[in-house]
């Protein structure tokens, strides 16, 4: 079981943006994360639409977080869409499906936990690890 590349990359992008004090160009994000510029442009579309990042044009342009207290769940919901572990949505027999409850349990675990972790606290960990010279 894996998150999609889109989901993982979007988390990385937001954690990096949270460490920046000013607007960040796609190029700078690409250098820090190793994600290609073209792919970053694509990742930004749903993130902008969800109101998680905003961008300025021009010389001092670039991306920044739109607000504080963004959780990992906010990011994954924007980038992964509906976030269902199993395609139960079109299933006609949710009420009596023997395995449905397992998928609900799994989904709840992931959703609940990802709501508890904020991008800011991950960014703080990143800054701490870098100033500590650990990486």
């Amino acid at each position: 079981m894996k998150l999609s590349t889109k989901g993982r990359y979007s988390l990385q992008t937001l954690v990096y943006l949270a460490t920046c004090t000013e607007n960040c160009s796609i190029r700078k994000i690409s250098e820090a994360t190793g994600i290609s510029s073209g792919y970053l442009e694509q990742l930004m579309i749903p993130l902008r639409r969800a109101g998680l990042v905003e961008a300025d044009r021009g010389v001092l342009g670039g991306y920044r977080l739109s607000r504080s207290s963004i959780t990992c769940h906010d990011v994954l919901a924007a980038s992964e869409g509906d976030f269902h572990p199993a395609p139960c949505k079109e299933c006609q027999k949710n009420g009596m499906c023997k395995t449905h409850q397992i998928w609900s349990l799994l989904q709840r675990a992931v959703v609940d936990f990802s709501k508890e972790v904020t991008i800011e606290e991950l960014a703080a960990q990143l800054v701490a690890s870098e100033t500590g010279g650990g990486i």
Binding site: C97, I102, A109, Q125
Partner: protein
Amino acid sequence: MKISTRGRYGLRLLVDIAEHASDGPIALSTVAKRQKLSEKYLQQVALLLTRGGFLNSVKGSGGGYLLKDSPEQIKIYDVLDLLEGSIAFEEERDGENAIERILRLHFYRPLDEQVERLFADLTLAEVTQAAWFTYMI
């Protein structure tokens, strides 16, 4: 996040076999009909579950599959872990950067621990019984 077809089919196969355990060995053609799943695909999943130590295969006429242990002893977490290759979100790759490392240690790893805790005691027996209860309502 997606559970593979193999994960979904595999669990339905186990649940079906657990529910009809009193019928003796169960042919995959019977499960395929009951669950409306492809028999060919069930064969692949059954092979994996047999190798993984969850099913026994009985050859010959009247043959089929049986649970290797009682449903009370089969942990759903172990089944998913086998069917999905690994149920963990954490993956360490060569040359991971600082951001990936932070996400791995402070998001994916504790997330895995959370999933493991939630599934810790869930057995195949509980799944079949609880589903039956829902069905009765």
